[in-house]
């Protein structure tokens, strides 16, 4: 059923009884509310702590709503099998499983021309209903390791002998179990999420954890353990080493995209975004567009 799951949400393709409405910019301003979709349980980007919404995406969405003069309403989105599913469910078609609710804006959508222009087997744009814009963060892979058990990570080859923790069904899992003909698969340990992989490192089950840089920075920040170090290794044969994270709106809603873009650029230039990232112990590199 794996392949089924990939396309699962296409379930709703033919069969919506209630058509979800895309709000245009004027309607959004008149309603005084910006509805923003953020991923659920995805620290440090968007998560809940003691019942309070937290995370860089949450704070940035708040700052953007404020700049537009409206209040923020968050839509917590469980991640689908692929981003295409999330965009469909929250930006252009909605899903009966989420009460047909559409967001005006979705955070953490890559700013990647190849992806945005991707076509299906019939030559149709796969994400033609969506405008992806406003890069606000660079993303890359990162390994953190415990210096008590591992001196240094010269290359990923050390994980032939040192156990490493990854989130189940994640890119680091695909990567470490397949690279070099599966040589590292035996020492790759799977956990439900990055926090659990870090807990396993603390417990001595694994010597390192691989995840996205933001996730690693946050866990290292939270652990406050001087023996935890950030590796500088390369990731040979990794499809994409570095990418940019931005936002998405419906393609009929470019006016909102322009307004958000303008607000975002101001926040980046005045250092407000960097400050938000610092709340979570995250490094911040200004994306290329603003340099």
């Amino acid at each position: 059923m794996r392949l089924l799951a990939v396309l699962i949400s296409a379930v709703w393709l033919c069969c919506q009884t209630v058509q979800a409405q895309v709000r245009n910019y004027d309607e959004m301003i008149a309603a005084g509310e910006l509805k923003v979709a953020v991923y659920k349980d995805f620290a440090p980007y968007s998560f809940e702590q003691a019942g309070q919404p937290r995370g860089v995406d949450v704070e940035l969405a708040e700052a953007l709503a404020k700049a537009l003069g409206v209040r923020l309403t968050l839509i917590w989105a469980p991640a689908g099998e692929k981003l295409d599913d999330d965009l469909r469910d929250y930006i252009w078609r909605a899903s009966a499983l989420h009460n047909q609710q559409l967001a005006d804006l979705m955070m953490r959508v890559p700013y990647d021309r190849d992806y945005a222009q991707k076509r299906n087997e019939f030559g149709e744009m796969e994400n033609g209903h969506v405008v992806m814009f406003g890069p606000y963060q660079n993303e890359q892979w990162q390994v953190a390791y415990d210096q008590r058990r591992l001196d240094k990570v010269g290359s990923v080859a050390v994980f032939d002998s040192h156990p490493i923790g990854v989130e189940v069904d994640s890119v680091p899992s695909f990567y470490l179990t397949s690279v070099f003909n599966g040589m590292l698969a035996g020492k790759t340990h799977h956990y439900p999420g990055v926090p659990q992989a870090f807990a396993a490192m603390k417990a001595g089950e694994v010597d390192a954890v691989m995840a996205m840089r933001g996730e690693i920075d946050w866990q290292v920040h939270e652990a406050a353990d001087p023996q935890l170090a950030l590796a500088q290794n390369a990731y040979p044969n990794m499809g994409k080493q570095l990418w940019e994270i931005g936002m998405a709106v419906h393609e009929s809603n470019r006016q909102l995209a322009y307004a958000v873009e303008e607000a975002l650029e101001g926040l980046i230039r005045e250092g407000a975004v960097k400050t938000i990232y610092s709340h979570y112990g995250l490094r911040y590199d200004v994306p290329e567009m603003y340099q």
Partner: protein
């Protein structure tokens, strides 16, 4: 009883109390009722018309000669806006019909009039993750309770008269991706269910509960390396690791998240006292990440119903790289060969092969293709293991150049999917709802998941023939010969029923419930139900007349697909209707 003050004559009250007593005795479904189900045509208290799942009715009031007089008696709408795939098989007990609808709903309907007696709507959380539409495949009956599984992976017990919840139990955490769509079954006083959700990196399991109160009795993980448990007085007692130990057929720790979900439930064979369940594909999907057989994924398992111990297994697709779930039903049947009675079981796998196994030990007796085109394997060896065609295994994403593609048949939706086949004891044939389709799988460019970039794979399903995908086949399990076939333009997705009246019933996505001559395959009757038929038809006797019922409502997994298959089904409307037909008494003898 509108005048309670009036004294009743003694005889009348005696009669009344006798009726009430017998009414109660009738009302409770017992273990005996369940085991005898195929022999009592006035009720249907098992999914499969008998625990073996043969879907054979001994009724012959309705037969191939008079079936043209079969006509609608009543119809019942599930109502609401929740018109999605309807895949349940109705149950009938004491003139009441029980069934599930899409979105985890249960209905009880007067079998004589179609009047609704009650409806139960499960309250579903926002974050359910059903794999393949919001369908459900039916209820189980036991005592005075009606059981079903929900999309958020709960077992719910309802009072059969009121529809009120008697107990509800979380079988698995829906937040991890588990759900339940199959009908549970009750065997020897135990309520047994599988789970769906293997694609989310969870581990499949089969669990048994006390039907009275929902107490967990045993649990058996379906992936090698996981401990099974029996529960005594609320305490978990270890009952052996599935497969003995971890890591024999899996690399690294991938067995911890191995999938193999038994999402289609199972059946039971009283002669060997075995539960027969199938398991889904292994995780992760990319087979290059998990060299080895990956037990017990894509397998059939025989379990002891008392404690969930695995007695034998048969793996139809070891090291599955094509999403050929091994969940399809294993139907017990006996046949005679060389003067000896063989206790066999047959299954028509997603992978395109039909297997006949010795159900006493799981040994392979014979296997043969039941669809016209199989490219992933060139055949089966003497133990039933596939002889792979490695050129048909999808490459590791990222390893081949972008755009490189392989064509594989059958498609991952299977030569036969969930829809149950039927076995006719008179003809000795299996009636198999099959589909002729293949798939292109290719490496595509960049994809993203939850903010992370990776190289993805794309795929599309392709019909193999211009004029049909679905093929209802009559297959001789002894010779491997196809006795007849009936083609259908759209893919078949509904269950099959066969009867002593030399009839085979099944539905089509085009909306027809159809009847065929079981011996010849001639279509002898059809009725347009107004939406696609994905349910499993049943037949039973009431007041001396033979009835047929089926759910109508298009949906399920097929409409998920774009590409060429979508063109064949895009005009089919949703539905949610229970149709009941009967052969009026005065027309039986006419033919």
């Amino acid at each position: 009883m509108t005048q309670p003050a009036r004294r009743q004559p003694f005889v009348l009250s005696l009669l009344l109390s006798a009726m009430l007593l017998s009414g109660q005795a009738l009302a409770a479904v017992s273990d005996q009722d369940i085991l005898q189900d195929p022999k009592n045509p006035e009720q249907i208290v098992t999914n499969g018309l008998g625990v073996q799942g043969q879907r054979y009715s001994p009724l012959d009031i309705l037969n191939v000669d008079n079936v043209k007089e079969l006509r609608p008696a009543w119809a019942f709408s599930f109502g609401g806006e929740k018109q999605r795939g309807q895949q349940a098989q109705p149950m009938i007990k004491d003139g009441v019909m029980y069934m599930t609808g899409s979105y985890s709903r249960v209905f009880a309907v007067d079998a004589r009039t179609g009047k609704k007696l009650w409806q139960y709507d499960a309250r579903l959380p926002d974050d359910i993750r059903p794999c393949c539409d919001v369908i459900n495949r039916g209820v189980a009956l036991y005592g005075d309770l009606v059981f079903f599984g929900t999309l958020d992976a709960k077992l719910v017990a309802l009072n059969k008269d009121t529809g009120k919840v008697v107990w509800s139990k979380q079988v698995a955490d829906h937040k991890e991706g588990y759900s339940i769509s199959a009908a549970p079954l009750v065997i020897n006083g135990k309520l047994i269910t599988g789970v769906a959700g293997g694609e989310f990196g969870v581990v499949g399991k089969i669990s048994a509960y006390d039907p009275k109160n929902g107490d967990l009795l045993w649990v058996r993980p379906t992936v090698e390396g996981h401990m099974g448990y029996v529960y005594k007085d609320g305490k978990a007692i270890e009952n052996g690791i599935s497969g003995g130990e971890a890591g024999k057929t899996w690399p690294g720790d991938l067995w911890k998240t191995g999938g193999a979900a038994p999402w289609l439930g199972g059946y039971y064979d009283p002669e060997t006292n075995l539960l027969l369940f199938g398991t889904g594909n292994p995780a992760p999907w990319n087979s290059h990440l998990r060299p080895g057989d990956n037990l017990y994924s894509s397998s059939r398992l025989a379990l002891n119903p008392d404690d969930g111990t695995i007695k034998w297994h048969f793996q139809s697709t070891p090291h599955d790289g094509w999403d050929y779930d091994g969940v399809n039903e294993l139907v017990s049947f006996n046949y005679t060969e060389g003067g000896k009675e063989i206790k066999a079981a047959a299954t028509a796998d997603r992978n395109g092969f039909f297997y006949v196994l010795d159900r006493t030990n799981g040994k392979f007796i014979r296997g043969f293709p039941f669809v016209d085109k199989i490219t992933w394997a060139t055949g089966l060896d003497k133990d039933g293991r596939p002889i792979y065609n490695e050129a048909s295994r999808p490459g590791a994403p990222g390893s081949d150049p972008k755009g490189s593609s392989v064509f594989v048949a059958p498609a991952f939706l299977g030569a036969k999917n969930w829809m149950p086949m039927a076995y006719n004891r008179d003809t000795g044939l299996f009636y198999v709802p099959s589909n002729e389709w293949g798939m292109d799988i290719w490496n595509e460019g960049i994809a993203y998941k939850k903010g992370a970039a990776f190289l993805g794979a794309g795929f599309t399903i392709k019909p193999l023939n211009e004029d049909y995908i679905g093929v209802l086949r009559a297959i001789d399990p002894i010779t491997g010969k196809e006795v007849w076939r009936h083609k259908n333009y759209a893919p078949l997705w509904g269950g099959v029923l066969t009867t002593k009246g030399n009839l085979v019933f099944t539905g089509t996505p085009e909306g027809f419930l159809q009847a065929f001559n079981a011996k010849t395959g001639e279509k002898v009757w059809e009725f347009q139900t107004g939406s696609g038929v994905l349910g499993s038809p049943v037949t039973w006797e009431m007041d001396g007349e033979q009835y047929v019922s089926v759910l109508s409502g298009w949906g399920g997994a097929v409409p998920l697909w774009g590409g060429e298959v979508a063109k064949r089904i895009k005009d089919f409307n949703q539905g949610g209707m229970l149709w009941t037909f009967k052969l009026p008494k005065d027309l039986v003898a006419k033919h």
